[in-house]
Amino acid sequence: MSVPRYWRETKYRYRLIGQMCAQCGSVMFPRSGVCSPCGSVDLEEVKLAETGHVVTWTVVRNPPAGYMEYAPYLVALVELDDGVRVLSQLVDIEPIKMKTGMRVEAAFRRVKVDGNSGIIEYGYKFRPLIE
């Protein structure tokens, strides 16, 4: 991700803020310019729930460039408590302990690091709920 693009998205990725369509009520995350179901551009910011459950998951052993050092890592489809679905890395758990339906919460982590001199991109990942 370029530095300007990372910067434009920080607030939304740090705080899990999506967009709600004022016409049909669909919620989009990550943000996009238009509502994918109805095409409306009348969109409002909406704070998403920070807790949810795992719908499905997989282990990434051969990651794309820039994510090598994190491998192997988990990627999960998480359904937040407000019904919004988010694709995210899952941390602080071993694949052997994964269960569909397990409760998770948003964590704040490094997402990508541009070498020794570039920008450090931060954002959300999910982890088992700490109660």
């Binding site: 920080t10 705080r15 071993e94 704040f108 982590r109 490094r110 450090i120 931060y122």
Partner: protein
């Protein structure tokens, strides 16, 4: 230093990464005689001082139950900034939603950078410059492979939000005092990955002189003595030092036990005293008095006297206790530790 009545902690939060490296594992690789602690916390590949600071800041905001837009300052005290130049405080302020009308900066004073930020925040809220101010002590400390510090240098932090009545305080601050001299007991030069230290020089002329100096100065100013405090927290670079400091000042083991997490977490540097205080606040009752004294090499100590308020019982179960993070762990061996801490040459 005299403080206005009614200034105190309105919220606090802790965070400790879940990886643990047993001291016996360091000993297996590098030899050596005793082990100063049981095990220490280690960051995951995608964690650093900023992520730790954000985690504990979020818990502090939730526990305080305040609008983050009312936080006027976010200070991060650390010796392990992810960027040499680019403030950690701005990332934390953005992540908790305190931007843009907010003061944000990083503090450095070895292990007492976090408590130094406490004092700034106390000043900012007691002067009425802002309603709330946040100070965080967080570190991902490193010791040179095989060095005595490698057994203990660990990762974690705690965040505190300060406010003034009528804001609801969980603990009131009665006074604070610092004891600072130019003492070369431990340092790290720019571009160096690991610190250097003066071995035995780190005890009497460094840690004990400053910790005991600050504690005595503060108790003298307030007219209190050890017996007036239910609990005490001293900076925890190992298990021996805080226990010896407590004994010297007349505190019992019962007084320091709730906050003494170093055997299972290690020395979290700037996070050490703030985490020990958080663990103590987790179990303290209204009316209990707490003495907290940090230590930072270079060198200095900040002492605080607090009285726990009624509101603490309301918030007790809202956010995870420090013990929850102490118990949440997974063991790693020295090779995984080496990968996580950037000790493998690729």
């Amino acid at each position: 230093m005299k403080i206005d009545r009614g200034v105190g902690i309105v919220g606090y939060g802790a965070y400790i990464p879940m990886n643990r490296l047993r001291a016996s594992e360091v000993k297996r690789v590098w030899g050596g005689s005793g082990t100063p602690i049981e095990e220490k916390s280690v960051v995951a590949m995608d964690e650093d001082t900023i992520t730790i600071a954000v985690e504990c800041a979020r818990y502090a905001v939730k526990r305080a139950g305040i609008d983050p837009q009312e936080i006027g300052a976010v200070y991060v005290g650390t010796e392990s900034k992810p960027y040499a130049v680019k403030p950690s405080g701005t990332v934390v302020a953005e992540a908790i939603g305190a931007t843009p009308n907010v003061l944000a900066a990083d503090y450095e004073f070895a292990c007492k950078a976090g408590t130094e930020a406490f004092q700034t925040c106390i000043g900012l809220v007691s002067s009425g410059m802002m309603k709330y101010a946040m100070a965080i002590g967080a570190d991902t400390a490193q010791g040179r492979p095989g060095d005595a510090l490698e057994y203990t240098a660990s990762c974690g932090g705690a965040a505190y939000i300060f406010g003034k009545k009528p804001a609801r305080t969980l603990a009131e601050i009665e006074g604070s005092c610092s004891y600072v001299t130019d003492t070369p007991d431990f340092w790290r030069r720019e571009h160096e990955m690991y610190p250097r230290h003066g071995n035995r020089f780190t005890g009497e002329p460094a840690y004990f002189k400053h910790v005991i100096g600050a504690a005595k100065e503060l108790m003298g100013e307030l007219g209190t003595e050890a017996g007036d405090y239910k609990y005490a927290v001293f900076h925890q670079p190992n298990v021996k030092f805080p226990i010896k400091a407590a004994r010297t000042l007349g505190f019992s083991m019962d007084a320091i036990k709730p906050g003494l997490i170093v055997p299972f977490v290690g020395n979290t540097y700037s996070g050490s005293t703030p985490l020990g205080l958080a663990a103590t606040l987790d179990i303290a009752d209204p009316g209990d008095r707490i003495l907290a004294v940090s230590y930072g090499s270079g060198a200095g100590s900040d002492a605080f006297s607090l009285t726990v308020q009624d509101a603490i019982t309301n918030d007790r179960r809202l956010e995870p206790a420090v013990s929850r993070f102490v118990d949440r762990k997974r063991y790693i061996d020295y090779s995984v530790y080496s990968k996580l801490r950037g000790k493998i040459v690729k």
